[in-house]
């Protein structure tokens, strides 16, 4: 095949390799300008609380401190990451006005001539916070008597009311994303066996070796250039334009080589803060997060809880599935409503289940916001689906290879959301995997195919 085509079937070199081995690849941390200042944040020591007072007087006296930035310096403080593609609601402040919603949330920013001075001064800012009871557990957050931490009165995203950006405002909403197909009640009545399972995944940090680094440089005419470790320069541009209240055309985002992202650099997490600081002081400003900030502040893959119930026939078919998925969005929306949709529609895994009822909840808690990570929404659910498949097979006393071969999608079937399947290859992939793993499959499985 490689003789026929230039690219298909031919190995392709990473074009950046020469830069990598000579150490000349340009990362954001190597970008510097004369007169460049540094940022350090004063962070919340509590998961939830009212800000009573921010006293910056001692910090301002430290030689080398240029300015301390608070919510008052932000022209349009409230934003949401994916507003550019119509996902709402804007619920996250660049800097909090009166309430902190997770431990480590930046309360104000110290801009100083170097990193050490900024750090020293940040430690001298005195913040008075009245601690409020936090919501740290997803099940607790959904209880009627839980403290409410969102503006709309329930600790879950409302799908279908216009808040999701996809439906018209005024339509009735639900506090979960619903996927429904067939007649799940009848499937459970006809079942020979019913198998229940509950699955939990903790948050996972992307932990790229390169931390978050951003340099923002004001340009003549009210313009701004932002150099940042981003996987999504357009999200950065749109969000910075929103919070500065200036046209997006005034903002130029430069995304040099990224030292590992894995989805952790999709969200504009700190570019808005650096942009405000740069515009306020009129000089280039840099912020490089510490490893501690990477783990405690930057987004993680969401924590997930899935409860699943399968209706099985004694000949080894899944007749129906009920599932309830909780996705921990953390304190703010970020990309979570979209992540929940991906998770919920994937609760069947790569298997044909004719009757399903799935509820996916985007739950708000007082934890660091979560967002995308490799295979966003799908990986978390695959873990639950595959463990449930093992549990189903063991309960029926069927070999789990056989159980998966029988229930795998075939071409011509439809998914839980009604999409016709024309690219099913699970049976073929499983045959190959078994062979690589040295598993001898019985002849009746080897005769199966995705086409019938």
């Amino acid at each position: 095949m490689s003789g026929q085509f230039a690219a298909v079937g031919a190995p392709i070199k990473n074009v950046q390799l020469l830069g990598h081995v000579t150490g000349t690849t340009q990362y954001v941390d190597e970008i510097s300008f004369p007169g460049m200042l540094w940022i350090k944040a004063v962070r919340s020591p509590v998961a939830r609380g009212k800000i009573r007072k921010i006293d910056t007087s001692r910090a301002e006296k430290v030689p080398g401190v240029i300015k301390i930035i608070t919510a008052k310096d932000v022209p349009n403080n409230i934003h949401v990451n994916m507003a550019g593609i119509g996902i709402g609601p804007p619920d996250e402040p660049v800097l909090p006005e009166d309430e902190v919603k997770y431990k480590g949330e930046a309360i104000c920013l110290v801009v100083a001539r170097d990193e050490e001075t900024a750090l020293k001064a940040a430690q001298l800012v005195e913040v008075e916070i009245e601690e409020l009871p936090p919501v740290l557990d997803m099940e607790e957050a959904l209880k009627p008597d839980a403290p409410v931490i969102t503006k709309w009165g329930v600790n879950a995203f409302i799908y279908g009311s216009g808040m999701d950006g996809a439906t018209k405002p005024g339509r009735p909403g639900r506090p979960f994303f619903l996927v429904r197909r067939g007649d799940v009640e009848t499937a459970f009545k006809q079942a020979d066996k019913v198998v229940k399972g509950s699955y939990v995944i903790p948050p996972i940090e992307h932990a790229p070796i390169e931390p978050h680094v951003c340099v923002a440089k004001p340009e003549p005419g009210g313009k701004l250039t932002i150099y940042t470790t981003t996987q999504a320069p357009y999200f950065v541009r749109d969000n910075v334009a929103t919070i500065l209240n200036i046209p997006a055309s005034n903002i130029r985002v430069i995304a040099p080589a990224v030292g590992g992202g894995f989805g952790g650099k999709v969200d504009p997490e700190f570019e808005m803060q650096v942009a405000v600081a740069a515009m306020r002081v009129g000089r280039p400003v840099k912020w490089r997060w510490t490893r501690e900030e990477e783990f405690t502040i930057s987004t993680t893959r969401p924590a997930i809880k899935v409860e699943m119930e399968d209706a099985l026939s004694k000949d080894g078919l899944i007749l129906g599935r009920r599932a309830r998925l909780l996705h921990d969005s953390g304190a703010y929306t970020r990309t979570s409503p979209y992540g929940v949709i991906k998770s919920t529609v994937n609760l069947s895994g790569p298997y044909h289940i004719p009757n399903v009822y799935y509820e996916g909840y985007c739950v708000y808690t007082n934890r660091q916001p979560s967002s995308a990570m490799r295979g966003y929404g799908v990986f978390e659910v695959s873990y639950a689906v595959e463990l449930q498949m093992e549990r189903d097979a063991r309960t029926l006393g069927v070999d789990s290879w056989e159980f998966r071969f029988k229930n795998a999608y075939r071409n011509g079937q439809v998914t839980a959301t009604g999409r016709p399947i024309d690219d099913a290859y699970l049976v073929e992939v499983m045959k190959e995997a078994a062979s690589l793993a040295g598993v001898k499959l019985p002849p009746h499985l080897l005769q199966m195919s995705s086409w019938g």
């Binding site: 390799l17 990362y27 931390p211 590992g260 894995f262 490089r288």
Partner: protein, 152 residues
């Protein structure tokens, strides 16, 4: 304080505070682009340089320590535009993805091969224990080092 050392074969002299790390001096004062900040606490290896031929975390090394010594970064390995053997081996084996850990990996590998030209797999794993690659491309990195092992 004034410190003087050899950086990639050239003498340099810089002012440093007693608390300045070698990483800070290399990045901020000498504008060395290939030494990367990763963790700042001696875990990831992105900031590794060779001091008198031995790999050191520059984030944990005080600048004063290298006074009078020889510091080598990955930029010091190529000569007259010709890549060193170890750089060529990384290039040929596709031993880098995002590239952030690569200079540290190459310098650690060089220090290993300089003192042990034919390392076993175990010795390669041991030598790389202080260098993290979050893209998890360890196999091509190990293959690159093995391709230079004199036993092969």
């Amino acid at each position: 304080m004034r410190i003087k050392f050899k950086l990639d074969g050239e003498y340099v002299e810089v002012d440093a505070k007693h608390t300045d790390t070698l990483l800070k001096i290399l990045k901020d004062k000498l504008v060395v682009g290939s030494v990367h900040f990763g963790c700042g606490e001696g875990t990831c290896g992105a900031c590794i340089v060779l001091v008198n031929g031995r790999p050191r975390y520059s984030c944990l090394t005080l600048a004063g320590y290298v006074d009078g010594k020889e510091v080598t970064t990955v930029a010091g390995l190529a000569h007259d535009g010709e890549l060193s053997e170890i750089q060529k081996a990384f290039l040929e084996n596709d031993a880098a993805q995002c590239g952030y850990c690569t200079p540290g990996m190459i310098l650690t590998a060089k220090a290993l091969l300089d003192r042990n030209p034919s390392p076993t797999d175990e010795e390669i794993f041991d030598a790389l224990a202080g260098n993290l690659c979050r893209c998890t491309g360890y196999v091509p990195i190990i293959n690159a080092i093995k391709s230079l092992s004199k036993k092969r």
